[in-house]
């Protein structure tokens, strides 16, 4: 428990902040002591998150100062905050889905070798075994059963939060900032989280906590500070205050009790759902909603409630069951059909499903009912605006103008726009999924009032909500779901929080997060074991690589059977010699794709480096070969660095930058060469020999390419920068928040890709013994991207292996050289490339859909 006499670890003195002229925080004082949970409360837009983000280094204070241990500090970045021992736990965990739990714990931009303690935090190189064992230790100390080697993709939000907590602990954070950590958790998970939070607090960690749920706040906090409109209203000790006082402080006036649904004429059953099932989501769902009735659907997150709602609305397919509307059977397979039948669905995820945030409020209002603002497909902007303004007035949405992007509104007002959009469709049945999640007390009451009004008009409402007081106050009847089935049905009169929770959890338990005394003395409840089965996708990836390898071999043998000349040394060397050129460039391309970028300029870089270097052979026939190779690499690196600078520092998207430099560099090739080809008699024998023989019977360029592949694999697997490439591709936003030097890494990989393309230019000269300004390196970008895609690299970044890409290169090389040998018209070649890309991509998608359902 916190001791009022301890010195605060953090003091905010008169902190102010404004964005684009709007004051968000004004002269806020706040302090945080070691060993306390200090909660920030306030309506949405009160400035809680901004204050927290200032502490975490995401924003910088506009005025005032921060003191850490009584010393003024500057927190310019999330990384700086980390170094000061301040860690931010996000509401939606910021994790890297393609990386393992252990890597997620230790991925950070800090330089831990300075403190020189943890072997697990990579300095330059990654020590995997140390990382796994240390991760296991930290997870165990948290009491979380998670496999450190499992991928984070597919973990529940609660588990991901635990991983983030573990990450904070691994950095020995003294201050934990938790922004609505419980918003998406089940009561059970909240209990787990609070148990850990209390333990950390007792160990002396200072914790800032944000939540809208009063019960939770009173259960976990030592002190509460209330913000309103950017001002600090006051700080209270939990023991000396009441929920009423806190609410009064938050809204600036007395609030009555929860709004309750006013009586409405309950009529005939309207929506009837019978034995509805959907495989893997829910089963045997039967209920009916009558006219004027609100049916509450309670249950834990993940109980399948949202799936039922979305199924009725036509987002998911149903495998069995019957849905009838006014006695008429429905067969809905798309939201459009549902809307046409008079069903509306207000989704829980407002930002992704509810609104088109960058588009105007007017557009958002009419988007589900475009026929109201159009005639024969012609839109009328006037009608659009008129309707939006009408609904703005009806729902009292606070906005500047209906042409404003929806993004600029607060949560509550955004929800009103969503509601207008659906009311415009004149629905008879409304499915409201968490209608008041994340909106402030005032807006919440307005939404409840509106729901009551809609019921009075005779509409039928299915309300999915995790907010128990809301369910109890608003519903006429309540059904409870657990693990995809209905486990309880209650009338308004008989329902209580306890009964609902018992049905939702399948046992007679009491809420852990209940107001009352708590702390080290609270009984140690046995926490549920959530052991995840190990992720199957990594083994599938191996399987996939094996598959391509087999395919390459099969093609080769088929070719050999057809004609013996396949095995002729000349053919073999042809096959093998085109491949190294692809491999060298593809290694770079793969890294770029893993980082969620693309490099279209590789072929032009190859050509320029090649022609510039070989041009020297023309003028200086005795120019030493190693120096020439070095020169080509450096030229390539310089061109790659230009790409990297434009992308990382001037924020030009990679696809545009390299589309531009694809042309620009190719133009340079012509300018430099005057359009003339460098012929074989100028290429030194020694260079040509690289493709012909070596000490070990394998041509040198194959040896070099193999070495580069091995080095790339080692780089990606065992260096910190290598892992950072995966992290950036897996979740760029999280990478930024963790302080990974994204710009530096991007500059590096584009430079590396340029260097590799330059080096490949030398290989090209060796193999083909001529450099032609309009032929050399043309379509290299397509070949290498194809190799990466065939090799299983995810075009959306985050995953890919050297082995897979190697097989991809081999396949392309084989097709390129083997087809003429076996007597297939070489004109088929490109078509085969195309089919291979499509087949590989389709296969990946099918595998992913079947096995790895991503979150």
């Amino acid at each position: 428990m916190s001791d009022p006499t301890t010195n605060p670890i953090i003091i905010c003195r008169a902190v102010g902040k404004s964005f684009a002229g709007v004051t968000v925080l004004e002269s806020v004082d706040f302090d945080l002591r070691p060993g306390e949970v200090h909660t920030l409360m306030g309506e949405n837009g009160a400035g809680k998150s901004t204050l927290m983000k200032i502490l975490a280094g995401v924003h910088r204070p506009g005025s005032g100062e921060l003191l850490l241990d009584n010393v003024p500090v500057n927190v310019p970045s999330p990384l700086a905050a980390q170094k000061l021992g301040i860690a931010l736990i996000h509401q939606e965990p910021l994790s890297f889905p393609d990386l393992s739990v252990a890597e997620n714990i230790f991925m950070s931009g800090g330089s831990p070798q300075k403190e020189g303690k943890s072997q697990a935090s990579p300095s330059w190189f990654v020590n995997w075994s140390a990382m796994y064992s240390e991760a296991a230790k930290i997870l165990e100390s948290l009491g979380v059963k998670l496999d450190p080697k499992a991928k984070v993709r597919g973990l529940s939000i609660a588990d991901q939060q635990m991983v983030e907590l573990a990450a904070a602990l691994s950095q020995k954070a003294k201050v934990l900032l938790m922004d609505e950590p419980t918003a998406a958790l089940t009561p059970e998970e909240v209990g787990d989280l609070f148990r850990i939070v209390r333990r950390l607090r007792d160990a002396g960690t200072a914790i800032v906590f944000i939540s809208h749920r009063l019960e939770e706040v009173f259960s976990i906090s030592d002190r509460i500070t209330v913000l309103r409109d950017g001002h600090c209203i006051g700080t209270r000790n939990v023991k000396e205050t009441t929920t009423d006082e806190i609410i009064r402080m938050m809204v600036g006036r007395e609030l009555g009790k929860f709004f309750e649904k006013p009586p409405a004429q309950i009529g005939e059953p309207r929506l009837k759902v019978e034995n509805l099932s959907s495989e893997g989501r829910f089963a045997d769902i039967t209920f009916e909603v009558r006219r004027g009735e609100i049916l509450g659907v309670a249950g834990l997150v993940g109980a399948g409630r949202t799936d039922v709602g979305q199924s009725i609305f036509g987002i998911h397919s149903q495998s069995a069951g019957k849905v009838t509307l006014d006695g008429k059977p429905l067969n809905i397979s798309s939201p459009r059909q549902a809307i046409d039948q008079g069903i509306a669905y207000v989704p829980e995820d407002r930002a992704h499903h509810g609104l088109l945030l960058p588009m105007s409020i007017a557009t958002n209002t009419s988007i589900a009912e475009l026929k109201k603002v159009s005639k024969f497909g012609w839109l009328s902007r006037k009608k659009d605006r008129h309707i939006a303004e009408e609904w703005r007035d009806k729902l009292r949405t606070r906005l500047r103008d209906v042409s404003q992007p929806a993004r600029e509104l607060s949560g509550g007002n955004q929800q009103k726009v969503v509601l207008s959009k659906w009311l415009l469709t004149e629905p008879q049945v409304l499915i409201l999924d968490e209608p008041t999640r994340g909106i402030d007390v005032g807006a919440k009451a307005e939404v409840h009032h509106l729901m009551g009004e809609l019921a009075r008009q005779g509409k039928s409402i299915l309300m999915i909500s995790s907010d128990l007081p809301e369910v109890l106050a608003m519903s006429d009847r309540i059904i409870v779901m657990r693990e995809g089935r209905i486990t309880g049905r209650f009338d308004r009169s008989e329902a209580t929080q306890e009964k609902i929770m018992a049905a939702a959890t399948g046992q007679h338990s009491t809420l852990e997060a209940k107001p009352g005394p708590s702390g080290p003395g609270s009984p140690a409840t046995p926490h549920p074991v959530r052991l995840r089965k190990t992720d199957a996708s990594s083994s599938l990836l191996r399987f996939r690589e094996l598959g391509i390898a087999l395919f390459v071999l099969l093609t080769f043998f088929a070719a050999t059977l057809k004609t013996r000349s396949m095995l002729a040394p000349e053919t073999l060397s042809n096959i093998l010699l085109f491949t190294p050129i692809i491999i060298v460039v593809a290694m770079g391309q793969m890294m770029v794709i893993i980082s969620r970028n693309i490099d279209l300029s590789v072929g032009s870089i190859l050509a320029f480096a090649s022609i510039a270097t070989c041009g020297i052979f023309v003028t200086h026939p005795g120019f030493p070969l190693p120096l020439a190779a070095l020169l080509a690499t450096v030229i390539g690196a310089a061109m790659g660095a230009i790409n990297g600078t434009l992308i990382a520092y001037l924020r030009v998207p990679a696809i545009i930058t390299t589309l531009g430099t694809l042309s620009a560099y190719r133009g340079l090739v012509f300018i430099y060469s005057g359009g003339r080809q460098v012929d074989s008699n100028y290429i030194p024998e020694a260079l040509i020999d690289l493709s012909n023989r070596s000490a070990i019977y394998i041509p040198w360029i194959i040896v070099f390419a193999a070495m580069i592949a091995v080095l790339t694999a080692l780089f990606l697997r065992y260096t910190r920068t290598g892992r950072e490439i995966y992290a950036i591709g897996s979740n760029p936003h999280a990478a930024q928040m963790r302080g990974i030097p994204i710009n530096r890494v991007l500059l590096l990989i584009f430079t590396l890709t340029g260097a590799l393309s330059g080096l490949a230019g030398i290989f090209y000269a060796s193999k083909f013994t001529f450099i032609n300004p309009s032929k050399t390196g043309v379509e290299m970008e397509l070949i290498t991207i194809s190799a990466a895609v065939i090799g299983g690299t995810n075009v959306f970044g985050g995953s890919g292996t050297v082995l897979g890409v190697l097989f991809g290169c081999l396949f392309l090389g084989l097709v390129n050289q083997a087809m003429p040998v076996v007597g297939i018209n070489p004109f088929w070649q490109k078509a085969v490339y195309g089919v291979a890309i499509l087949a590989a991509a389709s296969l990946d998608t099918i595998i992913q859909k079947r096995f790895g359902k991503s979150a």
Binding site: S410, H449, V652, F670
Partner: protein, 332 residues
């Protein structure tokens, strides 16, 4: 006024004026409208495909297969003609083929849920490969005289037919994109695809239509090119997919979708045309021009980034202090 200045096309327009100014100063004959009109025809083949590409990119997708598709349509049409199908029918079949190629892309994208980048990278190779297989190194010519040299057909003895075709199509595409329900769907999908789906928009159908539109423009481009060159080869329009995308992006369309306009694409196309022709008149070789057009693309995006930063964003409205709806809570 401020709103106009903030539009992304304004940079394209400025660059267009600058390019025109420089070219005119360097070569006075540049001011001769007849000259500019005369050289416009080859650019219009890129132009018609860029119109559809504008839809594709605004919807958050990309179509890399346009040039290969064009080549495949050219080759198939020529083979049909060679086999004795009358040219009128060949033209109809060419349009049909464009629809089929677009449909193939679109179905792979919507039914299998594959990213358009991967699908059209695959069909880029596939369509060109099939074209190569069907015709090999041969070329087919001897088309009927009414079909060839469409660029010599001039309205008022001045404006070449390809330019008119392009402008008419640009008008139609502009109306569809900016004035019709379908256009709004395109923007909505590019802004937030799941959000569009949850709003009852028929996302898959719209995406399919967009790719069919792209295929249709491949066919129009193919017929224009076949007529102008009076010859069919598999390697027509080499690497044109990049020129098409360049025109769209140079016109201020966001490569990540959700924003863009037809007028921007039209301006960018003329910008590219003037830059290239200006350089030709200065005696700069076609290949060297690549450096300039490539740099132009990058510079235009940097400029757009800069102006985006300079023009201050509209401030969000301040939340009202008290809760005006308080009164209604009392009767609870």
């Amino acid at each position: 006024m401020k709103a106009i200045l903030r539009r992304p096309e304004i940079i394209t327009l400025l660059l267009l004026l600058i390019a025109f100014g420089i070219s005119a100063v360097g070569t006075p004959s540049f001011l001769d409208a007849r000259y500019l009109l005369k050289i416009s025809s080859p650019h219009m083949e890129i132009g018609v495909m860029a119109l559809a590409m504008t839809f594709v990119i605004i919807s958050g997708n990309i179509d890399l297969s346009v040039a290969s598709g064009l080549a495949l349509i050219v080759v198939c049409s020529a083979r049909l003609f060679e086999a004795g199908v009358p040219m009128q029918w060949v033209m109809v079949l060419a349009i049909l083929m464009g629809i089929i190629l677009g449909l193939f892309n679109g179905l792979l994208i919507t039914k299998l849920g594959l990213p358009s980048l991967t699908v059209t990278l695959g069909t880029l190779a596939l369509y060109r490969g099939l074209a190569q297989r069907l015709l090999g190194d041969r070329s087919i010519g001897n088309f009927p005289s009414w079909f060839v040299r469409v660029d010599n057909v001039k309205a008022f003895g001045l404006i070449p037919a390809p330019l008119i075709i392009f402008l008419v199509l640009a008008l139609i595409f502009g109306i569809i994109l900016h004035k019709m329900v379908f256009g709004r769907c395109v923007y909505a999908i590019g802004t937030n695809e799941p959000g569009a789906r949850f709003s009852g928009l028929q996302v898959d159908r719209a995406k399919l239509s967009i790719f069919v539109l792209s295929g249709l423009m491949m066919a129009v481009g193919a017929l224009m090119m076949m007529s102008r060159l009076a010859i069919a080869r598999f390697d027509h329009a080499p690497g044109y997919e990049l020129s098409v995308i360049t025109a769209v992006v140079l016109g201020g369309t966001d490569i990540f979708g959700g924003r863009g306009s037809i007028i921007g694409t039209v301006l960018a196309l003329f910008l590219l045309m003037i830059v290239q022709q200006g350089m030709i008149l200065q005696g700069i070789s076609a290949e060297t021009q690549l450096t300039v057009t490539g740099s132009l693309l990058v510079v235009s995006v940097i400029l757009a980034n800069l102006t985006g930063k300079l023009s201050t964003r509209t401030p969000a409205p301040k939340r009202p202090a008290a809760n005006p709806s308080g009164g209604e809570l009392k009767h609870a």
